[in-house]
Amino acid sequence: MSALLEVKNLVTRLRNGARIVDDISFSIRAGETFALLGESGCGKSITALSLLRLLPDGVVRAGGTALLDDIDLFGLREREMRAVRGGNVAMIFQEPALSLNPVMTVGQQIAEVLALHQGMGGAAAQQRSVKLLAQVGISDVTRRVAEYPFQLSGGMKQRVMIAMALAGQPKLLIADEPTTALDVTIQAQVLQLLRDTQAASGMSLLLITHDLGVVAEMAHQVGVMYAGQIVEQASRTQLFAQPLHPYTQKLFAALPHAARRNQPLVAIPGSVPPLGSIKQGCRFTARCDKAWSLCSEKTPDWTVLEDGQGVRCHLYAADAAGRDKGEGIRVDAAPRFAPSPLSRPPSLLQVKDLRVHFPIRKGVLQRVVGQVKAVDGVSLEIPQGRTLALVGESGCGKTTLGKALLQLIPPTAGSVQFAGRELIGLGAGELRTQRATMQMVFQDPYASLNPKMRVAEILEEGMTALNIESNSAARQAHIDTLLEQVGLARSSKWRYPHEFSGGQRQRIAIARALAVSPQLLICDEPTSALDVSVQAQILNLLKSLQQKLGLSYLFITHNLAVVEYIAHEVCVMYLGRIVERGTAEEVLRAPKHPYTQALLSAVPRIDGARGERIRLEGDLP
């Protein structure tokens, strides 16, 4: 098979000269899936946008060629390029809700593509749209075709996006994080749809993702990107059997897994270097534990091994033979985390039959016509010093439950007892004294810190509000120890939050919660906005804090790998109710409830074993 898309030495840079995409070459064969894997900010999306010549303002392509079926994409005139976009190459984006026009019906939007690229109009286009929607697995098509995007669920919107992309009968489909915004079960459906479509139409797929699991399920060839360069390129089987580049190896090691429960995850220290900051040498040097002097002096060349696997690392250059290539990751022999004792400690938080209902009001008089039962009769217990994971898909009420426990949302009924003391119905004053015992770490580290306050002020706020530490000198000293605890420099005290990376911000958020010495931390998806390597840092931090301070966690998440790694007990939540509860071992190894089983089988596994799938049809009601 010849290559459908051949990209050579692609360079894209900012106007000030910083290179975002630096000398990238790869090729995709017809009918094949090529995955670009990398953390946020490493230039994956810009690569795709460069190919379509849709770069944002201030970013320019500075070299390289891209041949699609022997047509030079960069040599075409803009008018010809428009025929290529959507015609030969189609693209689907991460956020389906933002990529559909809210004031046009689904049918109209597909018909627009048909009119542009197939010259179809009127009834023919109408029929074709219906057919396309049916092809992407949308039920009740004749009704859906006349509906607006807001009437569709997230998964359905992404299906519509795929239908739109297919309308031009593209030879290449670029999918930029197509499932990142979707739930696991929906993700499984969409990935299956992409595979089926590919099999049926023989198109190629350029898949951009940060998720090793998705790569394992979808890709034929994989390119691992780091700081604007492809550092390793191999077939899927090769890559998963034997990752070569230290960065790839660490990415694998950073994944949380049940087998690594009692040891810290191999976190990659630091974060991706800022654009254009490294002029010479390997870009991974600062974070690589196998780096030696050559790494920071000379930029490694692209080395292709006998079996076709390519890597950009001095370890594999001809003259570096004999160095420790570190196959497999060295793991410290002694587990750093003591395994938790088997006996169950007394419970710290007891929740009985908690309900949170939101009234639906209608009419002039705002009469209550119904209730949204966000949390509907949940009971759970969190033992002292243990972690309870609350697992569920978006919209199942897990965040509402977390906020109801903190009394941020008033519960409708039920009881929440903290260390034997009932929290529901406390007066404002009594509640304030209880606030110090339970704190929350939020999902989005970019929204959870006030951009106009400095770190010290953020950390001090809780102490001031709850009268912890009498004078300001004691508070400042406490802030210093807190920063040390979460692994930040003391000098970061007087900086603003935007000066920190996502992982560092999450550390600040954890320090803020710890400032009032709580016994229970409610962590609401604390790592879902972070990259894998940074996620490992945060999980390690949370585990070591639990060991040191004896904290209990209520860990709200949809990521089952994280649950396996961190949780002692698991509750699975579905539509406001807990459908299964037990120790992590029990629930994840031998799930009883059909929903748990479906959820577990939907998670992409990096071992590449495609087990029997239990497919959930449709969306959350």
């Binding site: 906020k403 903190l406 941020l408 509640l431 304030r432 606030r435 339970m438 704190q439 929350m440 939020f442 999902q443 989005d444 929204a447 959870s448 810190l449 006030n450 951009p451 106009k452 306050m453 400095r454 706020e461 809780g462 509000a465 709850l466 007087w494 900086r495 603003y496 935007h498 000066e499 920190f500 958020a509 803020r512 919660a513 009032v516």
Partner: protein, 455 residues
């Protein structure tokens, strides 16, 4: 003593604002992290040039705010009697402009009136011609010399201004460079402004640079006097709107519930009443009060001034709704953010959340919309003066200028200079304020607010 200082109500408010400005500047100077964004403002050339222009307006406005009354030569019962006319330091500085009034309209830099008049010469023949002005260009024996004289005076004036500008520039160059301020832009702006001022001063000594109005008053003088009125309408009104809009807006957005309902109803009702009607009613009531209590005022200036202050209040009370609505919307968005919830989880009081978390994060909207409103307010004053409920007719303002010029726009040949002067001055003032506010907003954007480079 040959004069007595007079403190009008609006003067007091201006000084209060000035004091508040100085105090907050002093407060910020003590705190490095608050000073930082202002330092960044100082490195922006647009900001500094517009600040230079603004400060010219401010100086004129402030000089015009220092009021006094001169002593009359007569005495009554051994006591000094002061003139009923209230003058300002600015009036004193430009006495010739103020005092040299012509009979009626004359075009900019003209030596004759704008309309022909019948005059009789010594032998009793009646001539119909453009009569010479009383002051404008009297030193010329022949009208034909005017062009050359204007050119000469303009050039020498500009040259002298340029020299003074250069002196200032060389005096302050090192000082500016030390602070990293935008040297070139500031120097060029200083030179242009000083040349313009030099030219105007030199020409104004012999001509009416911007012509004269219906009663022969110098339009340049009127425009400069209008600056104070414009600034007061803009700033004092803001003083009334800001607390109302800010407090009510964020309280409604954050607290929701009945507080939100009450505030929303108030501003919906207020903004559905035609504001001109409301203002007219209030101003007329106030006018009646003023007229029935002449004993409260010892000069006509203080009466006009009280009316101005009240106009500001009323404008303020009717114009806070737009900003309030905007802030309520923004707060609705902010209150769902996680840092607000984190603060709630600490049991931080609502008042503190409002002042510490929400207020700083809506300030960019406040800043921009206040400056935008500024031009709107100056224009509103013009409209109200047209309806007859604006400032006191004896008070010089852009509004009264435009209102007077409006009648002459339909006349042939057209009297355009009064309108053009008001337009030009307002344009420069509002544009400078807008550009400055824009630069300030950019500098306060936390994304650029780096204390040091993080590696």
């Amino acid at each position: 003593m040959s004069f007595v200082p007079v403190m009008l109500w609006s003067d007091a408010l201006v000084f209060l604002l000035l004091l508040a400005g100085i105090a907050s500047a002093w407060y910020v100077r003590q705190r490095e992290h608050l000073l930082l964004p202002w330092r960044r403002v100082a490195t922006s050339s647009v900001a500094m040039v517009s600040l230079l222009v603004l400060s010219f307006f401010l100086v004129v406005g402030l000089l015009d705010t220092l009021h006094y009354r001169v002593a009359l030569p007569e005495q009554s019962n051994g006591k000094t009697v002061y003139s009923p006319e209230v003058l300002s330091v600015f009036d004193k500085l430009v006495t010739p402009l103020r005092a040299q009034t012509e009979k009626t309209y004359s075009a900019p830099l003209a030596v004759t009136l704008y309309a022909k008049e019948s005059t009789s010469d010594a032998s009793g023949n009646i001539l119909r011609d453009y009569p010479r002005l009383r002051y404008g260009g009297v030193h010329l024996t022949d009208e034909q010399q005017r062009d050359g004289d204007v050119l000469w005076r303009g050039l020498t004036g500009a040259l002298v201004g340029l020299m003074v500008g250069l002196a200032i520039v060389f005096g302050s160059k090192r000082w500016l460079a030390q602070r990293g301020w935008p040297l070139r832009a500031l120097l060029i702006a200083t030179l242009i402004i000083s040349a313009l001022i030099g030219m105007t001063v030199n020409l104004a000594a012999a001509y009416h640079v911007l012509g004269t109005d219906k009663v022969g008053q110098d339009v340049l003088y009127l425009s400069l006097k209008s600056i104070r009125t414009g600034l007061i309408i803009g700033t004092v009104t803001t003083l009334v709107t800001l607390p109302l809009a800010l407090l009510l807006g964020i309280a409604a957005g954050y607290l929701r519930g009945w507080v939100d309902d009450v505030i929303q109803y108030v501003y919906t009702v207020l903004s559905s009443i035609p504001s001109v009607l409301l203002i007219a009613a209030a101003v007329l009531m106030m006018q009646v009060t003023i007229d029935t209590h002449p004993q409260w005022f010892d000069t006509s200036a203080s009466r006009a001034d009280l009316r101005l202050v009240f106009l500001c209040m009323i404008l303020g009370v009717t114009s806070w709704t737009g900003l309030c609505r905007l802030l309520r919307g923004e707060t609705l968005k902010l209150r769902e953010l996680e840092y607000i919830q984190a603060a709630q989880a600490f049991g931080v009081s609502s008042f503190r959340i409002l002042t510490r978390h929400i207020m700083p994060n809506v300030m960019h909207i406040v800043l921009i919309s206040l400056v935008m409103d500024f031009s709107g307010l100056v224009l509103a004053e013009a409209v109200l003066s047209y309806v007859g409920v604006g400032v006191d007719p004896s008070m010089i303002s852009f509004g009264t200028m435009i209102n007077a010029a409006r009648l002459e726009m339909g006349r042939e040949p057209m009297v355009w200079w009064a309108l053009a002067a008001a337009f030009g001055f307002m344009l420069v003032l509002v544009l400078a304020a807008n550009l400055f506010a824009d630069a300030v907003r950019d500098a306060f954007d936390p994304r650029f607010n780096r204390t040091e480079v993080v590696t």
